[in-house]
Amino acid sequence: MIEAKPIDDTEWMRRFQSGDEAAFERLFEKYHRPIISFCFRFLGDKEQSEEIAQETFLQVYRFAEGYRPLAKFSTWLYTIAKNLCLNRLRKKDPTLNCDLNNEDSQGNYLEETIADLAPTPDHEYSQKQLSEIVQKAVGNLSASLRAPLILYRYQELSHQEIAEILGCTVTAVKLRLHRAIRVLEKELAPYMRE
């Protein structure tokens, strides 16, 4: 018996372009959580991340005809989400440098650092506290280091996909990931159990 070939995202998009609304629903169901997650980790705010995720899918809905399967659907989707996140950050603070290809770009929690949660010798952190500590440490990374880290570590995308989303080379992605890990290693060292 011949097994039916699973339908990939590009095929769902093609069907949606032909007017099949159910195909769009499939894509929304598959990706709404990862996109919310990406936006939340990038912006650090749940309400805003849901707004951006909604806007991302609305743009897919409106401009579906403009999609060409030259890149993976997920790459296109993350690119839209990333651009909307950057617009939101710029709108919030026009002076904030959040250029993803600029090493001088800034973090999200500049006035609130994880030093506020400095460890005491016998302190055991709850899971929730550790989550908050990591959120602040990652949020304090410059936007140019934060974006590739989130896409690689949490969204589990390949270096190639990240390079396409951020509009840089694979080598640049790897270098930024190395730098991000180095910074986080220092930042999080006091919270690591021996």
């Binding site: 749940k46 909604q54 409106r62 989550s131 500590i133 949490y154 890990i181």
Partner: protein, 167 residues
């Protein structure tokens, strides 16, 4: 392989060739310093996993689909006023129509003096015809040779007109 050749971060790289991974592994087994670095990285990596993502709000999907519905209504409204469903053409065609009207008005405006000129010219031509008729009437061919007198013909015409009115 020595310590300088070991890039402990690259050890976690998904693209690292298997033979390189094995070589680094061999070095780590023999070098306490590098093994410590890798252990620290593993801890950092584990700690990053502590950051939990958020669950979508219970009404997230509902909100989204109502926005889609709104969007569909906006689209169908646009389609009603578009040509061949190409809604982008609707505002463009309205704009083009306005542009044509405004442009034709602006182009037409400078011709108005021209039309006035034509009217004046026709009037003058009629007067000239009358003048020629007057000259014929006067039956004085010598007068036609005198340019100065020609210039005064307007006056003669006026006199003739007034004479006609009187008669």
């Amino acid at each position: 392989m020595n310590c300088h050749e070991v890039n402990e971060i690259a050890y976690f790289d998904q693209d690292l060739p298997e033979d390189s991974r094995l070589k680094i592994g061999d070095h780590l087994a023999a070098c306490e310093k590098c093994a410590l670095k890798v252990a620290r990285l593993k801890k950092t990596e584990a700690l990053l996993g502590a950051w939990k993502s958020v669950e979508p709000s219970p009404d997230f999907k509902k909100k989204f689909w109502s926005k889609v519905k709104e969007n569909q209504q906006t689209l169908s409204w646009k389609e009603r006023f578009s040509w061949s469903g190409l809604d982008l053409f609707a505002p463009a065609s309205v704009f083009a129509a306005i542009l044509i009207v405004v442009t034709s008005f602006l182009i037409r405006a400078p011709f108005q003096p021209q039309e006035q000129y034509q009217a004046v010219l026709s009037e003058k031509q009629a007067k000239s015809a009358e003048m020629v008729a007057l000259v014929d009437l006067l039956e004085n061919q010598e007068m036609l040779m005198d340019a100065d007198l020609l210039l005064e013909m307007d006056l003669l015409l006026d006199i003739h007109s007034s004479n006609l009115e009187k008669s």
